[in-house]
């Protein structure tokens, strides 16, 4: 089994969602994760705090900028056989419907032995 990181990039503007919509969205995510858990693909998943800093050689700037699509709002760690399988699973992630971009990267496990 390989490990993959699923990065969720989205703009976190919930302004137009009603609480009814929010509840529906949370429920969909819970269902999605439940299925991952049931099939043994789920390793972990966490949201990321919207505030943070970006560092560059001589520069510290606030951000990531939550209003841009570039902000990573959370991640999932999956255990699957291949990138193809990870992609297949990610296709049913409810965030896609909401306009998020998903990035799937294999984690290179260096300390295996």
């Amino acid at each position: 089994m390989k490990e993959f990181l699923l990065l969720i990039r989205e703009s976190s503007t919930y302004g137009n969602l009603s609480v009814e919509d929010m509840q529906a969205d949370i429920q969909e995510h819970i269902n999605w994760v439940e299925e991952l858990v049931a099939n043994g693909h789920f390793l972990e998943g966490n949201p990321l705090e919207a505030n943070g800093v970006t560092l560059k050689k001589d520069m510290i700037s606030d951000g990531p900028y939550i209003e841009t699509k570039e902000c990573v709002s959370g991640y999932y760690k999956l255990s699957v056989k291949s990138l193809e399988e990870a992609t297949q699973l990610a296709k049913s992630c409810p965030d896609l419907k909401n306009g998020a971009t998903l990035e799937i990267r294999e984690i290179i496990i260096t300390d295996e032995q």
Binding site: M22, I26, Q27, I30, G45
Partner: protein, 412 residues
Amino acid sequence: MSNKDIDKLTDHLFREYHGKMISFLSAKFGYQQIDNIVDAVQEAFEIALSEWRYKGTPKNCFGWLIYVSQNKLINKINRDSVGSKILNRISYEEEESIASHEAEDSLLQLLIFFSKINVSDRNKLIISLFYLCGFGYSEISRAIMLPVETIKKIILRSQVLIKKIAIQYEKCEFESLHNEMPHLLHVLYLMFNEGFKSAQKRESIKKDLCFEAIRLSVLVKKYQEDHCELNALLALFFFHVSRFPARIQENGWISIQFQNRTLWDKNLISEGYAYLNKIDLSKNRLNKYHLEALIASVHCSSPNYEKTDWRLISTLYSQLEFLEPNAIAVKINRVIAESNYLPITPLIEKMFDLEPMLNDFLKFPFYSTLAFLYEKGEKKEMACHYYWCSLSYTNNQFDNEYINLKLSLLHS
């Protein structure tokens, strides 16, 4: 999340929480904080959205939400007014410690408060839906059929108004809740009617209004167990919702005459009767809600349209007329009932006596009823004329389709 059992969130739970949170926090921090409270509650839901997606729901969702929104609110108030007195009075509450009856008490308080605000019925309804029922702007806009921007304006203005009134408002003691009941019942009745008059499958938001009205009525009933009008109102609500499954076909209304009565929900009907039977007639005067519930109960217990006891229904309407001599809609309904056993021509004359008293809302029911009477009296041309006429007084798509169907049947 993997080793935790995640409870499925029950339908509309967030809406229910939203109302409870707003009222709980405003009972604690004062109604004049209403704008900050709305913001804090919204923020708490947004945090829930980003965290629960990954972590699942906490054990005590309501406690969690209250805890987060309260902290947001305190931070906000602290920023606004350093060292204010309000903050000395409260402490951070542990999330588990909030008893649900406390939240219900405050919900009822807020409902009473809104029912007494001096605004139009429509705005009262919009305010209640927003704060108590957790409806968003676009949901209210779909439910009340007004533009989103209008709803936003009404809510913003309501915040100013609430803050102004809150300063001198004294909380209602539940011992004297009885005095507040007429206002309360009126708001609940408005909410239900708004949903019922055009509830349809494609727009479940309309049905939601009906169920919200029932939910709040059941809450009020916890405090007013034997209230005659409240029992009557609940009976009325249940009789009406029992017919939901039969009211709609693909593209329009089905009038009660042609509804498939086997689709009527028998459990809901018996629920209606249970409330009706709780009313002690020896102790109470007949009231509007009771009469309406009785009329609905006659429909619910009739095997079909023809075998309905129209004389009884018409008698009940005449009693309603006595209670509400100016209600034209009641007079129109009475004529419809009478058209099933009296000669048509005098009834048509009776209708024309009402014509000068019509307001805009009544024009559609009036002209479509007039057309219906002509149709019954086999005066096709006049029937067509008035069906056409009625079309210019409705924007409701289902009304439109219903009338157009009538017209095409008359032409064929």
